[in-house]
């Protein structure tokens, strides 16, 4: 792939690269720096990309690697969280109506913000970018089972937060029996 071809693809997915980097580093300016630096690295090692259709996941993987190199602490923290956390079954209530009406959107944003970065980024890649588990595993350089587990844990945490919020405010009809 030539520099120009890689540039064309990167420009066409610039907003997705930026959104991904933004979720990693939590800052729009930092996100652009991260993508630009990742792109520079991608230009240098573009010979390693054998399948042009995989360019976006490959770029995302490079951006994430770069982020981790700069934030080793974030990676260590995640390892500690995952070693400690057990996947709890969240309660089942009647939040359907509230979710459909979108009245929980603020609480949803808060609950997402409280998740470990990589769980949230995993959700982003799945729900927004529409990547398969296999593609997410390639971006995160981890086994598919880890992606499956992270997504489930993230969703369980979100449901627990939403149910707690709903119960505190008397939203829905409480626990379903």
């Amino acid at each position: 792939m030539t520099e120009n071809e890689l540039l064309t693809i990167a420009i066409s997915v610039a907003s997705r690269l930026k959104r991904f980097a933004h979720h990693l580093c939590g800052d729009p300016d930092g996100a652009e720096d991260l993508v630009q630096e990742g792109f520079l690295r991608a230009l240098a090692c573009r010979a390693q990309l054998h399948d042009a259709s995989r360019t976006l996941p490959w770029l995302l993987m490079i951006v994430r690697r770069l982020f981790l190199e700069k934030h080793r602490r974030a990676e260590r923290q995640l390892r500690l969280i995952e070693a400690d956390a057990t996947l709890m079954d969240p309660p089942i209530g009647n939040l359907e109506e509230e979710m459909l009406r979108g009245t929980l959107s603020e609480e949803m944003s808060n609950a997402l913000a409280a998740l470990p970065e990589e769980w949230r980024t995993c959700l982003l890649l799945r729900e927004v970018e529409g990547f398969s588990y296999q593609e997410i595993a390639e971006i995160f350089e981890c086994p598919v089972g880890t992606v499956r587990s992270r997504l489930a844990r993230a969703r369980a945490e979100l449901l627990v937060s939403l149910h707690t919020y709903a119960a505190e405010r008397g939203i829905g009809q409480g626990e379903r029996r």
Binding site: A14, S15, V35, S105, S109, L112, L124, L159
Partner: protein, 238 residues
Amino acid sequence: MSCPRFESLSAEVDGELSQLEAEAVRSHLVGCDKCRARRTELLLLQGGVRNALGITSSSDGLKARLVATVQRRRRARAVRFGLGLAAAVAVAGLILPWVRGKDVVTELVGDHLGTTVRGEEPFDLVSGDPTAVERWFEGKLDYKLRIPSPTATQLLGARLCDVGGRQFPLAAYDRGGRRMSLFALGASAGSRGGTCREGVAGFTVCRQAADGIDYLLVSDYPGPEAKGILTAMLSERP
């Protein structure tokens, strides 16, 4: 079938279960109100997450920066080519002097001491498998690195060391209780016979090119011995 685990339901709404698993979960859902309710919540949750995370900010500035990155790279290449030509004419093929990389070498000796000898800075990858270490460096460098595996020497792990914004790979070895660090400095200026210096911050530093890459070995061996070790390491064929 008892209720499936939450993780299975989560993978089911993503369509990521095997056919067998998916069929078992779906047949369970037919007769279980509780799991059906949970599945509905998971589906609604997907929509909520999409709305919350799918916000896109303008990327016009980023696009301009990406274009500028390519332009800068091209300019730098053109300048390098010009300088290379001028240098070749001026020094008539003389090897670039040690002194140019003196500061980098001193920094790398510090990394050898902190990481390989004292273990104060952790490895990025702890592994005795050269292939695993080579794989770990893939995509992090703009050249392909070969990690030697000499006899009577144990590979301990690897790290990317940052010196002035440049990344240098380090592979750490134990040789009969004595620690050595092998660094790669990047593309070599040309074929280079091995050179060694003793007493660089208390260590022996040997430099040699192989397969178009400049390597640096930091150890506490006397110069001639260190030079022999590095030559043997780099003459290993993949």
